[in-house]
């Protein structure tokens, strides 16, 4: 299976399409960084207009940590599309080229085949996020410097000490990797049902768009299903950037406001991955690849 996994990785990184995602992320983050470098003050003033009427905030707010947070907020909505481009092509691409039948003549089980293919798309997803981390976090730290992190949430503001931030990003990126692997698993499952790549890619994006809309609408009818939608849990990475306070309302460094929520969301995402990949395995085992 290891050899099969290596072959699948080789196939992914041999295709020019794979590098579109890396180029798109580089361009997108570059544009945001350029914009904030040139007009960051105006952006900060706009976001903090309500806050600034009562308080004076002193310090380098537009530092690398803050920029990375802004980039992740914007980017993690769009990265699923880039992941779907590869993951939703894993089986359908083979079917389209007619190589699926040839592959099935090899002495490997269908489960091994599915797991090797999914593992390769998961590695692609993780590499893409590592690229995001390099661009959004490390490069921003280099360009904008570091300082305490100041985040405006919808109901309150949070200040995190500079030496308390990096581990939060490590956690947030690990969580994002789990969330994006769920997208990869969905795309991978849908790629079983078509003989061309476009269908599964569009279907994956459609599921994500519809689920995201349902997750974001505060309508009682949808509230009941929200906890079961993986898109509701994909944004939980932000919990890493919220601190507990003590009775004196002092933020406690090194804490997370709601670790249970993070754990629950991670479990829901994990369950989705298992269900999607499991379903893919079962369906593929029964799939007629001779046609």
């Amino acid at each position: 299976m290891w050899t099969l996994f290596q072959i699948e990785l080789y196939k992914i990184f041999r295709r020019p399409r794979t590098y579109i995602a890396f180029a798109a992320i580089t361009a997108l983050i570059g544009v945001v960084q350029l914009g904030l470098k040139v007009d960051g003050k105006e952006y900060a003033e706009f976001v903090m207009a309500d806050f600034n009427s009562s308080f004076a905030v002193d310090g380098n707010i537009l530092n690398g940590y803050f920029i990375c947070y802004v980039v992740l907020q914007l980017l993690l909505v769009h990265v699923p599309l880039l992941i779907a481009l590869i993951a939703a092509d894993m089986i359908s691409g083979e079917a389209n080229m007619g190589t699926l039948r040839v592959l099935m003549t090899k002495p490997i089980s269908r489960w091994e085949f599915i797991l090797a293919k999914f593992s390769a798309s998961a590695v692609y997803t993780i590499l893409l996020l590592i690229w995001v981390a390099i661009q959004a976090l490390l490069l921003s730290m280099l360009i904008f410097g570091t300082d305490d992190m100041f985040i405006m949430k919808s109901s309150y503001a949070v200040v995190i000490k500079a030496d308390d931030v990096f581990w939060r990003y490590a956690g947030a990126f690990c969580f994002a990797a789990l969330a994006m692997t769920t997208v990869a698993a969905l795309g991978f499952l849908l790629s079983l049902f078509a003989d061309n790549s476009i269908g599964p890619i569009v279907a994956t994006m459609s599921v994500i768009i519809v689920s995201t809309i349902l997750s974001t609408m505060s309508i009682p009818l949808f509230n009941a299903i929200k906890p079961y939608l993986f898109t509701s849990h994909m944004i939980t990475w932000k919990e890493f950037f919220d601190l507990k306070v003590n009775d004196m309302n002092e933020a406690i460094p090194g804490t997370i406001q709601n670790p249970q929520k993070l754990w629950n969301s991670a479990m829901v995402l994990m369950a989705h991955i298992i269900v999607f990949v499991g379903a893919a395995g079962i369906i593929f085992k029964r799939k007629d690849v001779l046609s």
Binding site: A56, V57, S155, K161, A162, K238, E250, I252
Partner: protein, 215 residues
């Protein structure tokens, strides 16, 4: 017709001022705690500079600091060092088991930002223990001072600023947060009074400070 006139407390204020006048300038390091319902901030280090007659600067010593606008920059000395006010006796009041003289300071200047300052003065030690200031631009805020080893100079070891805060809300479309805030957080946000506590670790008095520090 009987006219009631409040006793002029200018003499007491002048004594307090004379005590403060020993200090031409000071630099102090301290820790600042921001206690506002909708701000989660850790304790930060600050550095404070003062130079006669009314130059005052509070700057962060690394990191990001959040200060209420106006309140912190108006300090006791800048109010008292102004001669252009009327000081009226408002009786006595007990604060923290200590009897204090209450003095109302009314600036004579029409365009002064400070409208009224009420001071609670320890007459025996000539120390201002509490001051409530109403300003045109920044509302009303309170300052409570605790004194220690620098009481001889009229410099507090701890200052607590209290002020009213407005409601704070940022559209979820900007923060891209779609989760509803839990009940515990909502309850915590209900507090309307904000506090900033500065605990001074040490003072360097009359060592000379260049005015460029305050720019």
């Amino acid at each position: 017709m009987q006219m009631i006139t409040a006793q002029d407390m200018t003499a007491l204020i002048n004594k307090v001022k004379a005590k403060m006048d020993q200090v031409n300038d000071y630099t102090a390091e301290g820790k600042m705690k921001t206690d506002v319902a909708f701000i989660k901030a850790p304790i930060g280090r600050v550095k404070v500079f003062y130079k006669k007659p009314n130059l005052f600067k509070l700057q962060r010593d690394g990191g990001i600091s959040i200060l209420p606008k106006g309140g912190v920059t108006v300090n006791m000395r800048s109010i008292i060092t102004t001669n252009d006010f009327m000081a009226l006796d408002a009786g006595e009041q007990v604060l923290n088991a200590q009897k204090l003289r209450v003095v109302k300071l009314l600036p004579n200047a029409d365009n002064s930002d400070v409208i009224l300052t009420t001071m609670y003065i320890d007459e025996a030690n000539l120390l201002v223990k509490k001051a409530v200031t109403t300003t045109r631009e920044n509302g009303t805020y309170e300052m409570e001072m605790q004194y220690g080893k620098f009481a001889g100079y009229g410099l507090p070891d701890k200052v607590v600023f209290s002020f009213n805060t407005k409601d704070y809300k940022l559209p979820k479309g900007i923060t891209l947060e779609f989760d509803d805030v839990d009940q515990e957080t909502k309850n915590r946000m209900k507090g309307k009074k904000g506090r900033v506590e500065i605990t001074y670790a040490n003072y360097e008095i009359n060592k000379g400070i260049h005015t460029s520090v305050f720019k």
